[in-house]
Symmetry: C2
Subunit: 206 residues, 2 copies
Amino acid sequence: MSAAGTGDEPRRSPKWHARRQEIVDTSARMFARRGYDATGIAELCTANGLGKGAFYHYIGSKEELLVAIHDRVMDEVMASADRVAATQAEPSAQLTLLGDELLEIIARYPDHVWVFLHEFPALSGERSEQFHRRRHEYERRVEVVLQAGVDQDEFRDIDPRLTALGWLGMHNYAYLWLKADGRLTAREVAERFGDIFLHGIVNPDR
Amino acid sequence: MSAAGTGDEPRRSPKWHARRQEIVDTSARMFARRGYDATGIAELCTANGLGKGAFYHYIGSKEELLVAIHDRVMDEVMASADRVAATQAEPSAQLTLLGDELLEIIARYPDHVWVFLHEFPALSGERSEQFHRRRHEYERRVEVVLQAGVDQDEFRDIDPRLTALGWLGMHNYAYLWLKADGRLTAREVAERFGDIFLHGIVNPDR
């Protein structure tokens, strides 16, 4: 979570949270266009219509902004993994749902995804570790679905870890073209990718 | 090509080209570790054991270095596409070969790939266009193989453009983990990805 969960922040109003979210989104757009290093606090303040003092009322540092941009997407991605797991559907259906939700999120947050995929090396120490931990958590969710499919003989005897990485690459990489290539919606892309991928791993003997 | 082909550069010795290549490789390592913006010409000179004058004897600018890093990989990727096309093998075999060669190149140049995938927005004008043109050329090569497979009924009636983008994502994204995950070689990963992808698109009625 971005602004909750560690327990040591002061209580903030819903209005504060909403304004902070706006700042995170505006800043994601700026970082995506000009780069994280090249964008200074002064420019972020101007873009958000805030003085420096007011800016720091919402965001502790530029690096914290990068974390918040990442969390904005990862909160949604993890929530989608929870929703999909809760369906208790068979693994093939879960994988299809995961792909559908992932591409919807990528299409909804192109700037955020761009920024955190390109700028995550700017995170340091504990923040960098948390970034990797959260990404790994989602990879594991995909892996678990694939493993369940193998265990239930719905999928062939594939390597769940490697297959998860291939599946993630196929979907995540869409951040580079999904918006620009307006020919197909996120849902249509997900349908076609899901179709190829499932044909690729399904157990033909079942 | 990096230092040939436009016809307006002075003739250079093989020794000059070899030294330039070294500088490109060292700089790729530095950019991959510290970021393109954060690495100055002075640091590049130190890392390469060169004075500023000598450095500019090999490289016109930092941006030219970024182009050279990109070309180093793209020259190999395009050469591999030429080799694969020359086999005139059936589309499924060509796709497998393309994947094998692409992952070999990504494993051989992790720093270069990292740098150009992350830093290409730093390219401006004609250089940016050339970057996109070369990437698009390779995408087209994959697309042509997929289209041939559809035309020859070796593949199902898939969308060649979208399928090429999915295939590329699955393979290109390996730059993030291929080296770190030493469990499998590039060749082994290519074999497994090729197996999944071909099962995914092959025409079952053939």
